[in-house]
């Protein structure tokens, strides 16, 4: 086998320029895929991280039917204390769940005593919320340069920056929140602005924050109720597995009609960015298909020329008794070697390219967010997968020319001019 590869390599070196050009083409294709995968993958991961770690959380549990009417922030689809306890017990028993936090989502009127506007609010338990969305404070500006020990105290509100700018509200100003409870009665409370929060992508990306106890008072909840439970799991790559575990467990809790009382969704069902993420995946696959086409056509072309140019040589091999299978393996080894050389070069240059991109720190804007830093990375498994595709396609592209060579009649091949 070593001898076969030795002969294959020497035959490749026989036509140095052609081998170099073909290898260069495949290397560029591979480089393109590695850089695109690195950039697109890290962009996707960063955006998902920002959405799940600073606002949405990785999964959410609601009363059945809430997500389909999420735009109206219904207050009648709440989870009561009893339901919350049941879910809490289920989550505590699951070893993959890292943290969970109760939330109340509500719409209210915000007034600075001279102007009034609508505001959507996320009422949280700050201690629990920070465990579910550890980056939530990174979007917030407070009076000091540092994040306070307690993100939000009762009586405080954090309002979206666009809204603050519109109403000319500053940190430490007093504002009034007026909200309807689920029975339609109105209540109002005074709050101090503790911070300003910048917007991010998604329907929940422009919400203000208040303490969950204040929300329960504002909405005049006689017993504590919540709207959603945000979840964080220990390993994000196990998201779908954990979802598949939790969904049937949650379905066991039934309402009075004997139907599931709660629903669970991953971030993908809750954020429009999941469609962008899917598009990125499709584009990455498209890049891989282009690369496959480059490898297929270039190696097929080279190997067909190689067979055509060496008809007499093939005839000699066959005449002196080389078995057709050995002749085929000689050409397959040549195609595979060409693929292997290109894979090595492509991987080295690709990794170097990603390293350089990280040195020169790419910053970009997305939606209303500026100065986002892109840190392209590529996993070993992704490199191995792309390399395996190139090698497989190299062998596949060589099959036809190699088969043709192995089927040549020596008497015809020796007479070839």
């Amino acid at each position: 086998m070593i001898r076969i590869f030795k002969i294959a390599l020497r035959n490749l070196m026989r036509y140095k320029r052609r081998t170099l050009l073909t290898s260069l083409l495949i290397t560029l294709g591979l480089l393109m895929v590695i850089l695109f995968s690195g950039l697109a993958g890290s962009f996707k991961e960063m955006m998902i991280g920002q959405i799940t770690d600073s606002n949405l959380a990785q999964m959410q549990i609601h009363k059945k039917g809430y997500v389909s009417s999420i735009d109206t922030s219904p207050l009648n689809l709440t989870i009561n204390q009893k339901g919350y306890k049941k879910i809490e017990k289920m989550l505590n028993e699951n070893p993959d769940v890292e943290a969970y936090a109760p939330r109340i989502k509500l719409s209210a009127m915000l007034s600075n005593f001279t102007e009034t506007t609508n505001i959507r609010l996320n009422a949280i338990d700050p201690d629990k919320e920070i465990k579910v969305c550890p980056d939530v404070s990174e979007r917030m500006k407070f009076s000091g340069s540092q994040t306070p020990d307690i993100l939000l105290r009762p009586g405080e509100i954090i309002i979206p920056e666009k809204l603050a700018a519109g109403l000319k509200i500053k940190i430490k100003d007093s504002v009034v929140l007026v909200a309807n409870n689920k029975d339609g009665s109105v209540n109002g409370l005074n709050f101090t602005v503790a911070g300003i929060i910048e917007s991010i992508l998604g329907p929940q990306g422009k919400e203000g924050y208040m303490h969950i106890k204040d929300a329960q008072s504002l909405l005049r909840m006689e017993k504590p109720e919540i709207i959603e439970i945000a979840l964080r799991i220990k390993k994000f790559d196990k998201l779908n597995d954990v979802y598949k575990d939790l969904k049937p467990a949650l379905a066991k809790f039934e309402n009075k009609k004997g139907k599931p009382a709660f629903e669970i969704h991953t971030w993908e069902k809750l954020s429009p960015f999941s469609n962008i993420a899917k598009m990125i995946d499709i584009m990455t696959v498209s890049m891989k298909i282009i690369m496959i086409a480059i490898v297929l056509i270039s190696i097929l072309n080279v190997m067909m020329m190689s067979v055509y140019e060496r008809v007499r040589e093939i005839g000699t091999m066959s005449a002196i008794g080389t078995a057709p299978g050995k002749i085929m393996s000689l050409f397959l080894a040549e195609g595979l070697s060409l693929g292997l050389i290109s894979v090595l070069a492509g991987n080295i240059i690709g990794i170097l390219g990603i390293y350089i991109l990280n040195i020169y720190k790419i910053r970009y804007a997305f939606g209303r967010q500026d100065n986002l830093l892109l840190s392209p990375t590529i996993s070993f498994s992704e490199l191995a997968w792309v390399s395996a595709i190139v090698l497989l396609v190299s062998v596949f592209a060589t099959l036809q020319p190699a088969y043709k060579a192995s089927r040549m009649e020596p008497v015809d091949a020796l007479g070839h001019v």
Partner: protein, 223 residues
Amino acid sequence: MALVQIDNVSKIYQTGEVQVKALQDVTLSIDEASFVSFVGPSGSGKTTMLNLIGCLDKPTKGKVFVDKDRVDTFDRIQRAAFRGSVLGFIFQAFNLFQVLTTYENVEYPLVMIKNESASKRKEMVLKVLESVGMLNQKDKFPDQLSGGQKQRVAVARALVTQPKLVLADEPTANLDKKSAVNVIRLMRSMRDEFKTTFIFSTHDPGVMEEAEVIHTLEDGRLV
């Protein structure tokens, strides 16, 4: 039984609507360890005869026996295996592998066909290279050798597997007169040393003189 037995063999090539009778009702036998030449003008059927004996082609009619096997009934795989184990070939244009050195060219059949061990290969290759006087050129590539040297390497490659029969189609056609005679004499000395049967074709009178048995072909018939 003779090493090669040709019984009433004919070979007809069909080119479009034209039939070319390359060999017609040829019967002959060749003994072991003989040094035989097929002579005749171009188109007389010399190459066709060697192709049939060498299992490179099949007759249209008749039987071909080599080393007691009826080779005209073999399929592709059987013919390839037979060529690798019983026959050796020397070509007019030397047909050495350009990417291999002298040593590797001679070693090729032992690696790719015989699957001999490395130590056995080395012993066999060095022995045959010494016999053809090419031991000191063993690391050179074909394009660094003269025509006569290339044909010596080709002789060594044909002999290294210790075949019973070596077929050489116009082995001296691409050589000058002195080199041609040298190569034929080398082949004969190899026959003496290894007891291998040599069959070659030529239309060079100087080379013909070196043969012990001469079969003359004209228009596909033995004369």
